[in-house]
């Protein structure tokens, strides 16, 4: 019992920076995981990844002008995210290119541009900070940002739940009863960018999408309905944050990657053992029923 306490709780009691990291990770879990569930159900998981990279040049320009400043990099990231989302949508609508292809083009450009801009001014340490975040150095302002994003996301999702679900299942029906389809999609993209920018401060541009997508795809193997999926995804994300931080403290691992690795392990376990279509249950289906 004592060993478990010392391993899982002790470090957070002892160190302020670990407590801050945990609070940040929990806030990210609360908002990012349900967004991830809808991202997955809308078949946009890779779009999420692309958007995460798209944020980089904006944040990098903020960094170039003001150094490691929270408002500058946040604002730059938000602006870049929205521009890429709208451009990719516009290119898809106006040309032959599908949205996923134009997304891929934009995010590759963004990543190259972002890394170049950061290198213009900064050191490799700064580049690492931008790419992989600094969950162990969250200051008050960043924590408030993460909390605010979580609150905005949860209230918006609660309000838009029905059109989001209906638009995934039967977009034709939504179009025939309401004009909410396009605004819903747009607001959802805004939520995605907000969460990516929040995640960017903690986990960096390359890993931010991990805490959004991995818990969601894990949840698919545990719940049959959207509500349950969102709850499981939040739990998985929170657990990943907690275990990941503890792991990084005890074994000297980089914190952000440790969090994502724990989420990855949970994903693989869910894939194998999850009661809803997990591999083990597929291999051992049991004898068929009478009716």
């Amino acid at each position: 019992m004592h060993a478990i306490y010392a391993w899982l709780i002790g470090p957070f009691v002892e160190f302020d920076f670990l407590r801050r990291a945990l609070v940040g990770a929990l806030a990210l879990s609360l908002s990012g995981a349900p967004v991830g569930v809808f991202l997955m159900l809308r078949r946009m998981s890779l779009t999420g990844d692309a958007m995460a990279h798209a944020i980089l040049p904006g944040a990098a320009i903020g960094y170039l002008l003001y150094g490691l400043s929270l408002p500058a990099m946040t604002f730059g990231g938000l602006a870049a995210g929205f521009v890429v989302a709208l451009l990719a949508g516009a290119v898809a609508r106006l040309t032959q290119l599908r949205e996923d292809a134009s997304m891929a083009a934009f995010y590759l450009l963004s990543l190259a541009l972002g890394v170049t801009i950061v290198s213009l001014r900064g050191s490799n340490v700064d580049l690492l900070h931008v790419l992989f975040g600094s969950v162990l150095a969250l200051d008050d302002a960043t924590l408030i940002l993460l909390g605010a994003v979580a609150v905005i996301t949860l209230f918006t999702l609660a309000a838009l739940w029905r059109p989001l679900v209906v638009e995934c299942v039967d977009p034709g029906f939504l179009r025939s009863v309401s004009r909410a389809g396009a605004p819903t999609h747009l607001i959802f993209l805004v939520l995605l960018v907000l969460n990516l920018v929040a995640g960017f401060h903690a986990l960096g541009t390359l890993l931010a999408v991990g805490v959004i997508v991995l818990p969601a795809v894990s949840a698919r193997f545990w719940a049959r309905q959207v509500t349950g999926m969102a709850a499981v995804a939040i739990a998985v994300a929170a657990l990943s944050g907690w275990l990941g931080l503890a792991l990084s403290y005890h074994h000297g691992l980089p914190a952000g990657p440790a969090i994502i690795l724990v989420a990855g392990v949970i994903y693989v376990l869910s894939l194998c053992l999850g009661p809803v279509g997990g591999l083990v249950w597929r291999a051992l289906p049991g004898r068929h029923l009478e009716a």
Binding site: C168, G172, R175, S176, V177, S178
Partner: protein
């Protein structure tokens, strides 16, 4: 010197049998994609309460016509007037549009039909449960409420979509090939539902391929082959000569077609 005028106590009687305004009125409407017409210069009136089948070969513009009636596509030319507000129109597209891998139960799918009453944000709660249960009973899906929609057979899914239509309580119901790939029993049950709608005074337009079914169950028929071939009582519209004319329609659009100069 004038005779005393006695004010009438009751409002003056309506002129007998004044025709009700049409539920749908197409005025020289051309519908299509990329300037190529799929439905050409259509004049059409659908009377309230009519039960009409839309018949025609593939590519005749049946789906396009229904989409335009539902207000989902804009006509290239001409005017579409609707006698009912947009929210009282229900449209059931061909089944392919539904993502049935989505984790949703039959109950929730059917409950979507309450959209008009509950809107984006309204609560769908216990007080709606009897209506939803009644709709499920009417289509014969009682007991399958908690099934995920991905586990339904094609016929069950179509029954669920009809239950959703029941809840939508629409005045004008547009059905795009609602009986594709369904067995005879399902078709019979759903046809009975359509007749129930007709008896309730709703207007129904359905795109169909099965001429026997049309002759047996649909009093009005609209025969379409890009142009309107015939519209009227089914036995008058579906003559061999009319059907032969419809079959002669040329399906491929001409890439070098010149702008249409036909007068309205």
């Amino acid at each position: 010197m004038s005779a005393p005028v006695v004010a009438p106590v009751s409002p003056p009687p309506q002129p007998a049998r004044r025709p009700l305004p049409p539920v749908l009125r197409f005025d020289n409407v051309t519908l299509g994609y990329d300037r190529h017409p799929a439905v050409h210069h259509l004049h059409l009136q659908i009377a309230p309460g009519a039960l009409t089948a839309i018949v025609g070969p593939n590519g005749a513009g049946k789906s396009t016509l229904l989409k335009a009636a539902a207000g989902l596509i804009r006509p290239l030319d001409g005017v579409i007037q609707r006698g009912v507000p947009a929210r009282r129109i229900a449209y059931l597209p061909q089944a392919a549009a539904l993502d049935n891998s989505f984790p949703l139960t039959v109950y929730d799918l059917v409950a979507m039909g309450l959209w008009e009453r509950c809107g984006l944000f309204g609560r769908i709660g216990r007080r709606h449960a009897p209506r939803i249960a009644e709709a499920l009973r009417a289509v014969g899906l009682t007991g399958l409420e908690s099934r995920p929609i991905g586990a339904l057979s094609g016929g069950q899914l179509q029954r669920a979509l009809f239950a959703r239509l029941l809840l939508q309580d629409a005045a004008l119901i547009l059905l795009d090939e609602p009986f594709n790939a369904l067995d005879a029993a399902t078709v019979a049950d759903l046809t009975a539902l359509i007749h129930r709608w007709r008896d309730e005074g709703r207007t129904v337009l359905a795109a169909l391929h099965d001429l026997e079914l049309v002759r047996a169950s649909f009093p009005q028929t609209l025969l379409l082959a890009r142009e309107l071939i015939a519209h009227g009582p089914t036995d008058v519209a579906l003559t061999e000569a009319n059907l032969a004319r419809a079959r002669r329609m040329n399906e491929a659009p001409d890439p070098h077609a010149a702008p249409c100069v036909r007068a309205a």
